[in-house]
């Protein structure tokens, strides 16, 4: 391979950028097929009720209505995780939240479908509701689901690595804090849409705005009782995903069924209000964290408890629960660690994975908690972090293998850039360096570069890439991955272009089509660059090998002398001697037959073997550090974030301008979460979403977005393609706690509940002015009888990653 990189690390335009700027990108709702019908879905207006009767006769009798389906038409359940197949495309016996789908109509146009939907008669028998974590823990009946860990508890987990009590006994200080992180939602600008088409040969095609076409494919085969080989799922470019298009959705199943019944294409496009009910967003999480530290800030043990409000269905919730406990150990040394997590069912739209899946909440809690410890120990918050980082190439107490680790460099950059030393108050309100009302705060984080394990157990690769070279010199790269705006299509083109010595724009990229492309598991868990990148390196190197063998024979030069660059294959010692790329393909095709290669990627095995060790392992971890500068108005409580300095350990940028965009977008989304975004419901028994609209669900506009100073730390990871790590999710994580810590620095109050709204700041300031604790946040967690923890000896204790015998193991 040429030593000099021609494509990797360069700010190329994205391969799909031009289409997006001229209005030619076809999103799902842009698809129009002849004779297409339109679908509307009737949703429950009650949060919890038995369905006694559904009468669709008036709807069916309406002119222009072609079909109406209800729960009995789709009796098979599904769900993203094998352990929680608890959804039906249309509810059968009961509804579990306002927005749960009950019936679906296919009609000649949207207006007719809407009118028909409104004459469907549903008789409900209301049930008592469960509207909070506390209620779910305390109230067993009525149960929202008939499975789980008892009553309205979906899942309880309890893990202990080493003996935390020993660690607390060794500590100079043991501190305990309670935090709450409110739920929020992805709010992609594109509403979910899907079009189904049932061919004359009885094969089904679904176009859908999904981040996970492979999992949708599997769900459709199950629910429709069809061979998967007769179903084709094409993911359309996602108009924003952020995790919100990662589940198989009821509307996708419904249009398929309606297309099969009517024999005509059927489209559904959700309204913005319906998108709020689809949700699968950030879980509200109540957290209690207890940490023992030495006087120098070294952690001796940590006990973390999280309580997740899961909403009405399982979704990714079991994984989310584990994620709230998994990554605490990959930033700072935590020699002993205990995690207890509980996910509750409530009568709200289901929660799931949103950017950072299950980690922004515990990261916020941990980083604010650490700030409080630093103050108690009179240590600079930078030092308490910087001096106790995990070592690169180490294994954590919970058996996560850390490879490259650039957090030290990240911290140095943001500390220097923000002039931390001359601005932080130093825990001394009487000798402030910034005026009262201005403050700065720091936080760090880490994130996975792809989940180590697939969602359903199998031994196959997680990503596959197929390459086809034609005799005219054309190169087509095919991969199941789906571009959700992050640039995954372009990553494929850049890597193949680098290895084959051609221009990225010479390459045709075909992605996310289950008929044409090898399986890639989807755009989630920050896995795509690392996994498709490695798979495309393998496919392209195999193609390169065929080309150089054929060219070496033709030119009579040794294979190792040949280089591919500038659309040529040539002798490095005599660059004049060579052939064009297209001629090279002709030579290879003449010698070997049609040229096609494949590549695939399977992550390395994790050293953890205990039950529950499947969530957290990753081929690599990215690292981020952020310093936020805020202005807090003590008269109004309004927090303005003026600037964020952020450094991200990217391993290596495949394309720096796209990396910058992901960092800036992550800062933006973190800013929205800490300042304003929240999914909130009326607290009476109706559990109605307060504001399922873009106007009232507050998100940052250009007027709220802060200035961002970005540093990219390039420390190539051996497991990443060209050393690359993720950037789509990690940089969000330090932003909320950095802002919370800055608010404390500015006005001396702790807001231990996200989002930090003006009311909360004002309440805390009032408390402080009355001589009380200047704090706003929860005080306790509900009483829970936890199962005996599954105990695992840490690597330092000589453990081998398996749980210890002779203890009751919770299932």
């Amino acid at each position: 391979m040429a030593n000099k990189l021609n494509v990797i690390g360069k700010p190329f335009r994205k391969v799909d950028a031009r289409a997006k700027c001229v209005g030619q990108t076809k999103f799902a709702d842009d698809i129009v097929l002849p004779r297409m019908l339109f679908c509307k879905i009737l949703r429950s207006h009650l949060p919890h009720a038995l369905i006694k009767k559904v009468d669709v006769s008036k709807a069916l009798a309406m002119p222009g209505v072609f079909a109406v389906i209800t729960g009995k038409d789709l009796p098979i359940s599904y769900g993203i995780l094998p352990v929680s197949q608890d959804e039906h495309a249309l509810c059968i016996n009961k509804v579990r939240f306002v927005g749960d789908p009950v019936a679906a109509v296919a009609a000649i146009d949207e207006d007719t479908a809407f009118d028909a939907m409104n004459v469907i008669e549903v008789e409900y028998e209301p049930l008592n509701t469960i509207s909070s974590i506390e209620e779910a823990v305390l109230i067993d009946e009525p149960r929202i689901h008939e499975y789980g860990d008892g009553g309205n508890v979906h899942k309880k987990v309890s893990l202990e690595f080493g003996n935390v009590e020993d660690g607390f006994a060794e500590a100079d200080l043991v501190r305990e804090d309670v935090f709450f992180y409110e739920g929020n939602t992805h709010l992609p600008m594109e509403q979910h849409a899907a079009v189904a088409h049932y061919d004359a040969d009885q094969k089904l095609t679904l176009w859908s705005a999904t981040q996970t076409p492979h999992y949708v494919h599997r769900a459709l085969a199950k629910v429709l009782e069809m061979p998967a080989s007769h179903i084709r799922v094409i993911a359309t470019p996602n108009g924003g995903g952020f995790g919100g298009k990662s589940d198989p959705f009821n509307h996708e199943v419904a249009v398929c069924k309606l297309a099969m019944i009517t024999g005509r294409p059927v489209k559904v496009t959700l309204t913005r209000e319906e998108v709020f009910y689809c949700h699968r967003g950030r879980h509200p999480v109540l957290m209690k964290v207890k940490t023992g530290v030495k006087n120098d800030g070294a952690i001796t043990a940590m006990h973390f408890q999280s309580f997740l409000d899961g909403g009405a269905y399982g979704s990714y919730g079991v994984a989310s629960t584990f994620y709230t406990g998994a990554l605490q150990t990959v930033t700072y040394e935590v020699p002993r660690y205990k995690f207890q997590g509980l996910r509750a069912f409530t009568n709200k739209p289901p929660c799931g994975p949103k950017r950072g899946h299950g980690t922004p909440q515990p990261r916020y809690a941990l980083e604010v908690h650490l700030d409080k410890i630093a103050e108690q120990l009179r240590i600079d918050p930078v030092d308490i972090r910087r001096k106790h980082l995990v070592a690169p190439n180490s294994v954590t107490a919970n058996y996560l293998r850390v490879g490259s680790m650039g957090l030290d460099k990240c911290i140095d950059k943001v500390v220097e850039g923000s002039d931390w030393k001359n601005r932080f108050s130093g825990w001394d309100p009487d000798h402030r360096k910034l005026p009262f009302g201005k403050g700065i705060g720091i936080a760090c984080s880490s994130y996975i570069c792809g989940a180590g394990l697939p969602i359903y157990w199998n031994n196959m690769p997680q990503s596959g890439v197929q390459l086809r070279l034609d005799r005219q010199g054309g190169v087509c790269v095919m991969c199941g991955s789906i571009d959700i705006g992050q640039g995954s299509d372009s990553i494929l083109a850049y890597i193949v272009a680098e290895i084959l010595g051609i221009d990225p724009f010479d390459i045709r990229v075909v992605t996310a089509d289950t008929d044409l492309t090898p399986v890639d598991l989807g755009s989630y868990s920050s896995r795509v660059t690392l996994m498709t990148g490695n798979a495309s390196i393998q496919a392209a190197e195999r193609a390169r090998e065929l080309l150089v063998m054929a060219v070496a024979e033709k030119l009579g030069v040794p294979i190792e002398n040949l280089s591919l660059a500038e659309r040529r294959v040539f002798d490095v010692e005599n660059p004049e001697l060579g052939v064009s790329f297209a001629e090279a393909v002709v030579l290879a095709e003449s010698k070997f037959g049609t040229i096609g290669t494949v590549g695939s990627y399977t992550p390395p095995r994790s050293p953890g073997k205990y039950k529950g060790s499947g969530v957290g392992p990753s081929p690599a971890y990215s690292y981020s550090a952020a310093v936020a500068e805020v202005d807090v108005n003590p008269d109004t409580g309004i927090v303005t974030v003026e600037r964020v300095w952020i450094a991200h350990d990217i391993g290596r940028s495949i394309n720096p301008v796209l990396v910058m965009g992901q960092v800036e977008g992550s800062v933006y989304m973190g800013l929205g979460e800490i300042l304003m975004e929240e999914m909130t419901y009326r607290t009476n028994r109706n559990v109605v979403h307060k504001f399922p609209s873009l106007l009232e669900y507050k998100s940052p506009t250009t007027m709220e977005m802060c200035d961002v100073k970005t540093y990219l730390i390039e420390d190539p990871d051996p497991n990443g393609p060209y050393g690359a790590k993720e950037v789509g999710q990690g940089p969000l994580l330090p932003v909320p706690p950095a802002v919370a810590n800055a608010v404390y620095d500015a006005v001396g109050v702790r807001i231990d509940e996200v989002p930090i709204t003006p009311e909360k700041v004002m309440r805390a300031l009032r408390e402080k002015s009355r001589g009380r604790d200047g704090r706003y946040g929860p005080d306790s967690v509900p009483p829970v009888s936890w199962p005996d923890p599954l105990r695992v000896l840490t690597p330092a204790e000589g453990g081998d990653g398996t749980e210890m015998p002779h203890v009751a193991v919770h299932s």
Partner: protein, 172 residues
């Protein structure tokens, strides 16, 4: 079913006639009756700016304007922004800087930015923020959008302006 009404207007510089049910919004007429799906929708309630386009050179939300109101007017959508195959400078810079990530909000941003640069060829960052404050983007954090507008504005003024290196590679 409502009987259709016909209107005539200039669409992306071309005389256009179209018939549609009178309750339809301009957004729906463009997407459903004229197959111009470049104009997107995010809420259809006037809240997000995604469906913004230019009517007589002024940005409007096409989800809040009836199709009938377009009678006799000049409407410009994203499909009419490039000069043939040659991209508008804003389209070039949005593409080059990754100001279009998912690309769903991009048509609205591009047209509102075009309106801004017509009125104010050398806008300050604050002016750009103000002009684009009615358009929501969930991907970019707006920063690459500002930089794309600034770079395009400079090129349109005929100035040779390079983006600071840190916009592309980060700070040293």
């Amino acid at each position: 079913m409502n009987s259709k009404r016909q209107i005539r207007f200039r669409l992306n510089g071309e005389e256009t006639e179209v018939a549609f049910a009178p309750h339809k919004t301009l957004l729906e007429v463009l997407r459903e009756d004229l197959n111009l799906t470049g104009t997107k929708h995010g809420c259809e309630l006037g809240e997000c700016g995604t469906c913004a386009l230019l009517v007589d050179g002024r940005s409007i939300l096409s989800c809040l304007m009836l199709g009938l109101e377009a009678e006799g007017r000049e409407v410009k959508t994203i499909e009419g922004m490039a000069n043939g195959a040659e991209l508008h400078p804003l389209q070039q810079t949005f593409a080059d800087l990754g100001a279009a990530q998912c690309g769903y909000c991009s048509p609205g941003f591009l047209l509102v930015a075009e309106e801004l640069l017509k009125k104010s060829p050398n806008p300050s960052r604050a002016e750009i923020q103000e002009a684009l404050s009615g358009n929501l983007c969930r991907c970019t954090g707006y920063i690459k959008i500002y930089e794309a507008v600034e770079l395009a504005a400079a090129r349109m003024r005929g100035e040779s302006y390079e983006l600071p290196k840190e916009s592309i590679y980060g700070l040293d």
